[in-house]
Amino acid sequence: MKRVVIAFVICLALVMSLVGCTKAPGSGPVESQAPEQPSAAPAETSAAAEPGDAKGLHVVYIPIQTGNPYFDPISQGLQDVVEAAGGTYEMTAADVVDPTAQIPLIKAQIQKGVDVICISPTSVDALNDVCDEARAAGITVIMLNDDITGNESHRDACVIGTNYEEVGYRSIEVFKDIMNGEGDFVVISATTDSPFQNRQIEIYKEMLAKPEYSKLNLLEVVYGNDEPEKSLTEAQAAIQKYDTLKGLLCPTTVAYIAACQAVQNAGLEGKVLVYGTEFPNQANEFLKSGVSQGAILWDTYRMGVVAGELCKAIVFDGFEIKEGATFNAGKYGEAVISAKNIIYGGPPLELTADNVDDYNF
């Protein structure tokens, strides 16, 4: 018993003594203070400029998850812009899609004293407190690709790929055309709580209630949890369960490819039609072979570039984010800030067998 207590006391003493010897955090050579770093920051968080980074453009991007290829072009876009401007760019992520996993990452960036934090949030409300902490330390917080709907006051701006509402309406419209306006279909979604997919499905249902969609019949919404095996199983089950199945609508990339495979495996090309969101490279073969009749997405690289330009504008030009203001988005021209400080990266991208080779991501 004594041993345990002594051991702990020694540990604690060691730690405290080591800490006691430390200089105040954040003190290193501070050449030129970045213009937008206010001294409103509390003493112990490093609000000083990163040592060695004279430009003061230290941007960190936290996507939803490591290894998710969807975020790579976004990161690339950000990186290209930031580094071309002489800034420092880093990307870090947790490996689970867990709202609580992003919090320590954000806290670490605050500790390091970065200038801008870009996040693709895994939760609409779990990050409020830590975002406030970051902004109090003088860090600009920008949401990327997904927004914290209902909690917009906790972030400075949001850059999303395109107007997702438009994607939803366009998807169901194109799908209706593909299905020739009639038939039974199943929607294969991601997890039951994925906000993007749920909103898309809401839009589908809204449109399906209209008279011109009356012959299109949504049989069921199934969830593939964004897992390849599960999505395949659900797609196969849908084909198996419903004799009259004519279409599979997949607002998530994992489900889209699973649906294509299931249709191909069952030899039902042309009889069961597949449409959904997917990358050009994943959809390529299926579009060309006729297994799928189309796909829709948006330019993720462009989203990253626009976000990068926004960071530059804020840091270098003191750009003030408010509705209606415009800033220079590099090669994409002028970008305008819409309501709730949202910026749309670009228009939706519709893929077909004819144009899929034009894109490589």
């Binding site: 080591l18 800490v19 290193g28 490591t66 867990d98 609580t100 670490a108 390091k112 004293g113 939760s123």
Partner: protein, 322 residues
């Protein structure tokens, strides 16, 4: 005379926990070297509560593993307790009433596994593989897509409650639990029963140790720790969601194994688990500070596991010889 004195001092120091203690020091040093922002006690203390919930479960898990059993449903149970508590509060129950119910629920979830394992004699790995899905699934059914928030002021933010203005409450709880549980393990009759059950179950039976009862108690204890952790997580985040804490069981198992507890049972220490918890927290904190890629972080943790286990093994052998 002199020799035995030297030997006994050596024996006290060269314990299996030494290897993880060495790594504890190394991780502090490494962290400082990697990032100038690391050695900020307040920052480190502020990142600890995030993992403390897992740490508390790891303590009870150590007991269970010493007794030769395993429970994969720990993270799911944590989430289920958190979600059920949130739902109860939202439906009008007062938070004061919800807390004991949450703890009770944790106990029940642990006992559920324990009863199944001891009655059916099916390996705990399989049973808890099933309950792992089941518990999280139940949380999903109960709470649905969204998250529940809006809890009373006094309940939320346990990680901001500071002892002496410096140490977050969760850490205080963790340290206290470690000390208490280590004492129970090493000094009480019950503790010895646990070790006996794990190392030689047949012998234990002959010495009138009711193996099943001991295991049941341990599963219950684990469940209770899940209850505490679930409530703590609810307080820290201020919200409940069914997708929280996925994969936590792997972190917990790593902590326990890293701390020197044998997977096959019969040997283990709470101090080791606590030190392992500290090491993992420190490592994760420092690696996160330099935005080390997740894959590289895995590499570091993996290498560390192997090196620590080599050292621990050597120290165990040394202990056995003397």
């Amino acid at each position: 005379m002199e020799n035995t004195k030297k030997n006994s001092v050596a024996k006290k120091i060269l314990r299996p926990e030494l290897s993880i203690f060495i790594f504890f020091i190394i991780s502090i040093v490494a962290g400082t070297l990697i990032s100038p922002d690391f050695l900020d006690l307040k920052y480190i203390l502020s990142t600890m509560p995030l993992y403390t919930e897992l740490g508390i479960i790891a303590l009870a898990f150590t007991y269970l593993m010493i007794a030769g059993e395993i429970d994969l449903s720990v993270a799911s149970a944590l989430t289920l307790v958190s979600c059920v508590s949130a739902v109860l509060y939202q439906s009008g129950m007062s938070m004061e009433a919800v807390i004991p119910i949450g703890l009770l629920l944790g106990l029940v979830l642990g006992l559920f596994n324990g009863i199944l394992v001891t009655v059916t004699k099916i390996p705990s790995l399989i049973i808890t593989l099933g309950s792992m899905s089941m518990y999280r699934g139940l949380a999903q059914v109960l709470i649905g897509d969204g998250s529940i928030s809006g809890f009373p002021e006094w309940f939320v933010g346990i990680d901001r409650m500071l002892l002496f203005g410096v140490v977050p409450m969760p850490i205080v709880i963790f340290v206290l639990l470690t000390v208490i549980m280590e004492i129970i393990l090493k000094k009480t009759f019950f503790g010895r029963k646990v070790v006996a059950v794990g190392s030689q179950p047949q012998v234990a039976v002959y010495s009138a140790v009711h193996v099943d009862r001991v295991k049941l108690v341990l599963f219950g204890l684990l469940g209770l720790s899940e209850g505490i952790a679930g409530l703590m997580s609810l307080s820290r985040l201020g919200l409940a969601k069914y997708s929280i804490g996925v994969g936590g069981e792997l972190d917990i198992i790593t902590m326990v194994l890293l701390g020197g507890t044998a997977f096959s049972g019969g040997r283990g220490s709470l101090t080791g688990t606590a030190l392992a918890f500290l090491v993992i927290v420190l490592l994760k904190t420092s690696m996160t500070l330099v935005n080390l890629r997740r894959m590289d972080q895995l590499l570091v943790i993996g290498l560390m596991l192997i090196i620590v286990i080599i050292l621990t093994d050597k120290l165990n052998k040394y202990q056995d010889q003397s």
